[in-house]
Every structure is written in structure tokens, then in C-alpha cells.
Symmetry: C2
Subunit: 252 residues, 2 copies
DNA sequence: CGGGTCGTTGAGGAAGCTCAAGAATCGTGG
DNA sequence: CCACGATTCTTGAGCTTCCTCAACGACCCG
């Protein structure tokens, strides 16, 4: 039923992957700086310093001081909110080129989310003051940033819609599809979500419990929609999943 | 138990409230243009045209073409998402100075939300092209916009946390408090949410049903936390509500 | 005063949670 | 290479929360 070994390659990001050249190309690939020239990006790169984190390591905690902006250069990062009930909320999983930290350059003195290295990763860090200076000098970058954040607002609204109006089965199907589309890689198992992903992660993303996720994934597997194992998932029947993720209650 | 008449004044926005002067002061009060000089705002105002809507009237529908940006000048506007199950999701209620429409200036060709006039209201409309031109000319406005949208992203993340992790009672208490803080006015009944607000609205904001909201509000009323009636709510015991809205399960 | 909208309350049922135990997988040290 | 502990996943049973369906009462406006 399940493959034994995880097909997800938990390769470490070796330090040399984080050379200045990589930093440059990551920044240029970022929505913020895409409209700028190579020279401009090169000047901006000087404002960022690079820090490596091992998988599982905290990058910053909810409530700590926040006067900095971070960009994922390599690896993936989890953005979560801790809750007193112990049940964490997983807001976003960010891949290379995404940014996080004190998005709001304004008053916001503390982080509103906890960021954790999901895989080994390399993070570029700039202070918000430096970032503000860059945006002032490059209006195109400011507009690009605005568009980027507006896109994430849309995505957040999507999630709110899901949580408000749809049952867990649909939310889970939708979440798996979204992950496959963002981080998918064609593999023997199907369209593999190329990232370690536990049932707990999926539960925290869909606002449910590990047990419920496990049960649903078992039936998804039985129905030939997905393949899955310990900390990995792959989409097998994309159309089938999509039917679950959009209201089509199967007729007959 | 309940007051008979609604203490919320459903005053119409008379057309003369939407003079050019009002338009100017609203735009200047907007987070986007706050950092600009009076003269700059005056020039920008020319890009906006003004349209009035009666309470209940649709301003734009989900899925229609979206190449425009709208600012609330007077009144309040509801941003909703329709769902096939019939259960609508109420994402935000916007007051004067808030903006909506195609936040994402980019590709986004259709509206992601339905906007409805909650009260009679006056809306300022500009095309996204004009808006983009304004931002390009005024980097300070672009940065202010970025901060504004980032703030709304935070708020959306708050909502996601609520929906993912907390029971309905807490979500409802929290939502009422937030509304009272944003749109509250001291009145005989307590801190009155100065806006017509049905049980259905509250249900759509908290991801639950009218019946559940009604039941909970009845007990809130019995416990002396709120006062409420047909399409209005007022906070009586702020601390009590806040205790419900933050994990403090009453001891003993 | 009568029709329409909005709110309240009840009874029954279903979705999903909690608690609990056991199985599979992984990493590590011998 | 194997054994062990730790983590992750699975499955079951009972129960709670909340939804659904339904009826009725209150308020509003013409």
C-alpha cells in the first residue's frame, strides 16, 4: 500500500550553494527585484547578509523583535502561529524567492509568526530600514512588492473561504493539490510534493487533527488518488482530487 | 431583554456629503496618500471619479472584470465570497478610507470578491493604470500602500488562526470585539457597533450558521456581556468578552 | 394590518475531536 | 548488519460540538 522509503530527497543545502552568485540570482528572481537591472540588484545584494539554518531549527519566534526582512534563498520555511491550546496553525510554506519577516515596515515591532526551517535552508536577511531605502530608490520594486503582498492576501482569503465553508475532506484535497502545484516534481510515485511533509503539517494547514488527516489520506490512497508514506505525499489522480476540491459531489 | 428600536442610525449619505472637498480629505486620510502634500493629493484626486450606492446594492461581483481600484469615501462596504453551497463568506467590512478592488495591479483580470454596499455609501473609483501611474510618481505612496496591504495580510492570518484553532464561541466573541473597536460608538446600550449587522453577517464572518450565532448571542446577553437586537450589537462587558476571546476558560 | 425579513428556540443527527493502543519507519549505536 | 528507541502513522470507539431542519415569534414597512 505504501512505499517503504521516502522518495523525497532530504538533501542538505551545502554551504557552497549560498555563494554570492546564487544570492544574486535569487534576489533577481524575487518578485521585488525582478523589474530591476542586473547592476541595481548587485548594489542591493550588499544590503543582505546570508545565514544558514538546519532543518527544524527556528529562524525567529513569534513575539520577538522584528526589524528585519528575510528572503528564502534555498530550502523551505514554515510560517506558523503557536496557540495556547497547543494546536499550531501553519499559515504558509515558503520556497526559494519568497520573503517573510516584518512585511509591515511600519510600527510592527514584533514578529506575528514563528518561522522554522523546514529543510536545511539558506536565508538572506536585511533590516527593514535598508529595505525601505531600497524601495524608496526603486519605485518599480515598491510596486512589485505591493503586487506580491496583494497576491498573498488573496491566497489568505482563499484559505479563509476554505476554513469557513468547506468540510475537511475538501480542504485536505485542495491543500495537497496546491502543494503539488507549487513544489511538485514528477517521480515514479506520481506528482511528488518535493518536501518532507508530515500528517501533523497537513493537519495544521487545514485546521484539523492528525487522526482525521490520516484517516482521509488512507481513503484517498484506497481510491487511487494519492500515494503517501512517512512524511511524503504524491498526487496520482489529479482530476479525482480536483473533483473533491471543487464542489462536485460524486453523483449516483 | 432587547431594545425595541435599533439604536444604529441608518442615515443615508446625502449626495452633498460627496463634495470635492470631502473627496480630498478622504484621499488624504487614506494610508496611501497620507504621506503626500495637499497639492499632490489634489492632483491625484482628478484620477478618481465618485459613485454613490444605496444600501444593499452590489458594487461589483466576484468574477467580473477588475481593472479598477476603489476607495470608500463614506459608508461601509462588505467584501464577500460566494460559495456554491450557498454559504457566503464575509471577508472584511470596510469603512471610510479603506480601499478594495483589484489590489493586485498585475495580471488579475477579475475580481476575487464581491463588494456590496452595507450602508448607503460613496465610492471613489480609479483605474488600475492610473493608480499605477500615481504610485510610480510617488514612491512614498507606494510604500504606504505596501504597509497597508501587509497589515491586512496580518489581519487575514489572524482570521485563519481563529478559524483553524478556536471554537465558535471564541470566534464570535473575538469578532464582536474587533467590530466594536473599529466601528464602536459610546451609546446608552454600551459600546455600540455603529452599523447594521445581522446574525447572518456574524455567521458569515465566523464561519458558522445563523442559528448558532443566535444561540450564543442569547447566552452572551443573559450573561450581561452584550446587548443586541435586530441588526445591531453593543458591547456591555468588555472584559468578560475578552476573557472568552482569549483562552481563559473560567476556573472553578 | 398584513407580508416580508430577521431572530429565537428545539430536537435530532452527523462531522470531526479526543483518548487510546498498536504498527510502520527512521536513525543510531553496538 | 541488526537491534533498539524515537518518531510518525494508522485505526478504533465514544463523545462533543455544531449543523440541519423545522416551527414560531418579533420587528419593519408599505
Amino acid at each position: 500500500m505504501e512505499r517503504r522509503q521516502s522518495p523525497v530527497d532530504l538533501q542538505s543545502i551545502t554551504p557552497q550553494e549560498c555563494t554570492f552568485d546564487v544570492l544574486l540570482s535569487v534576489l533577481h528572481g524575487t518578485p521585488f527585484f525582478a523589474p530591476l537591472s542586473h547592476e541595481e540588484v548587485q548594489a542591493i545584494a550588499a544590503s543582505f547578509r546570508q545565514v544558514d539554518f538546519a532543518a527544524g531549527e527556528p529562524i525567529h519566534h513569534y513575539g520577538t523583535d522584528a526589524r528585519r526582512l528575510e528572503v528564502v534563498a534555498a530550502g523551505t520555511v514554515k510560517l506558523t502561529r503557536p496557540t495556547i491550546t497547543g494546536r499550531d496553525v501553519l499559515l504558509e510554506i515558503l520556497g526559494p524567492g519568497s520573503f517573510f519577516g516584518s512585511v509591515d515596515l511600519l510600527g510592527q515591532a514584533t514578529h506575528a509568526e514563528t518561522a522554522t526551517a523546514n529543510t536545511d535552508c539558506c536565508i538572506l536577511i536585511a533590516s527593514t530600514d535598508e529595505f525601505r531605502r531600497i524601495l524608496q530608490a526603486h519605485p518599480a520594486a515598491a510596486i512589485a512588492s505591493l503586487e506580491y503582498v496583494a497576491g498573498r492576501l488573496q491566497a489568505a482569503h482563499d484559505t479563509i473561504e476554505q476554513l469557513s465553508a468547506y468540510p475537511v475532506e475538501r480542504r485536505l484535497a485542495s491543500t495537497i493539490l496546491k502543494l503539488a502545484d507549487t513544489l511538485g516534481r514528477e517521480a515514479d510515485e506520481g506528482l511528488l510534493v518535493d518536501m518532507p511533509l508530515s500528517r501533523q503539517d497537513l493537519a495544521d494547514m487545514t485546521g484539523t487533527t492528525v487522526e482525521t488527516v490520516s484517516r482521509l489520506m488512507s481513503t484517498f490512497r484506497k481510491d487511487g488518488l494519492i500515494q503517501s508514506g512517512r512524511r511524503w505525499v504524491a498526487v496520482v489522480d489529479r482530476d479525482g482530487l480536483e473533483r473533491l476540491a471543487s464542489d462536485e459531489i460524486s453523483p449516483i
